[in-house]
Symmetry: C2
Subunit: 239 residues, 2 copies
Amino acid sequence: MPHLAFPNSNCDGFRCATHCAVRPLAICGELEQAEHEEFERLAQHVRYGAKEALFSEDEVADAVYSLVEGIARLYKLLPDGRRQIIGFALPGDFLGMAPSARYSFSADAIGGVTVCKFFRGPFLRFIENKPHMLMRMNEFATRELSLAQDQMLLLGRRSAEEKVAAFLVGWRDRLARLEGVTKTVSLPMGRQDIADFLGLTIETVSRTFTKLEREKLIVIVPDGVRVLDPKRFDALAAA
Amino acid sequence: MPHLAFPNSNCDGFRCATHCAVRPLAICGELEQAEHEEFERLAQHVRYGAKEALFSEDEVADAVYSLVEGIARLYKLLPDGRRQIIGFALPGDFLGMAPSARYSFSADAIGGVTVCKFFRGPFLRFIENKPHMLMRMNEFATRELSLAQDQMLLLGRRSAEEKVAAFLVGWRDRLARLEGVTKTVSLPMGRQDIADFLGLTIETVSRTFTKLEREKLIVIVPDGVRVLDPKRFDALAAA
DNA sequence: GAATGGCCTTGATCTGTGTCAAGCCGCCTT
DNA sequence: AAGGCGGCTTGACACAGATCAAGGCCATTC
């Protein structure tokens, strides 16, 4: 059961600085002072524990979410339990827009997650006469769509080794936007999650990590990998 | 080389009725009279012949397109030539928005295609202070994204037979929005296109069609299939 | 510090789909 | 009507990755 971190979401300056470190990257990043205060009054800051669900596919989509902190797993299931992870959400990402009245996928926390939660009605009323906000939402949707298309190419046409390499490169680059460039790529998600993201089995993912390590492209470290040969590695990921 | 069907795009009533039959479904479907006339003045109606490119990945994205008539193939290529078709565009679909200054995929005509083409600058200036239009673009993007996510599930987690069945059901339902419900599903794209859409080879697609026919689920007809047992067929596509 | 359980790795074997190759069918050209 | 060509189908075989099974490692608990 999620609890409200700030039931009175009209948080003071200190807390805002803490919890909205990603604001420039988020959907609300270009709101000016007055608008942002109005927007904040619509928000509930909610914290979810590890593996807790933010929302599930086919539920009535009564809220949208701006991820503030932590990482979420977005996925779809087939009736027999096969799972496809359609993305990992990072701080600044915007979740929960659906083309119908119900969510088209499920989202749950990997480790702890903090979000700004907005009920649909008030949210839509807020944006409906704010062209700048609508443009920003369009940018977000277009970027998401483009990532999804990259992933289709990966799922449909790349080998297991290419999938893993492309995943690591893509993940490293997304983390770099948040944390700056590093040699060590942290992987908060488990091997099964990676497998379900890449359309592979956990065994194939594990073997492929080992293979990349044998080929001296990476070193496997606790909860991550270190990229040894970025040049050769990026080439493998691109091809 | 495409030629302008209406170099003076300010077309008269008759031509509009002919060429904008899909307007209620298109991006401009909710513009009121005066706005729509302004919008039309920004448009070039352009016709492309079979296999002609509307635009290509990595080109400067200087225009967006509303597909009026015909079908387009949207795809990405790997450096070695492997191709993933990320979608088939139908009349009413909106193409060409990109998260960067360049197109993130290629689009070309299957058979003949007619579009409304808008240069990026005038288009953005037109929409920037029209919340209704921006909302509609959001709806379009959200629907596209949801389709892309369905496709990820298909590519990552379905068997060849499930892929083909799900493709036929999805395609039939999209055509039904335009042409009404029919038993016969027309397939204007070739087997290689279907293969590249489903992450399969042409041989596997061909064998799977034959298998579905042997199992009395479909009959293969010229340029399409007839679905014999919709109940059983939809079940196969869902599972 | 022994037992438990979750997560990951590794090995052996199987199989669905890819690859390679041949042939068919309908259509266009001459 | 003969030839050629593009698109499709079919068969034989190969292989990447799945499946099945076992074992290792580490953190947590009692």
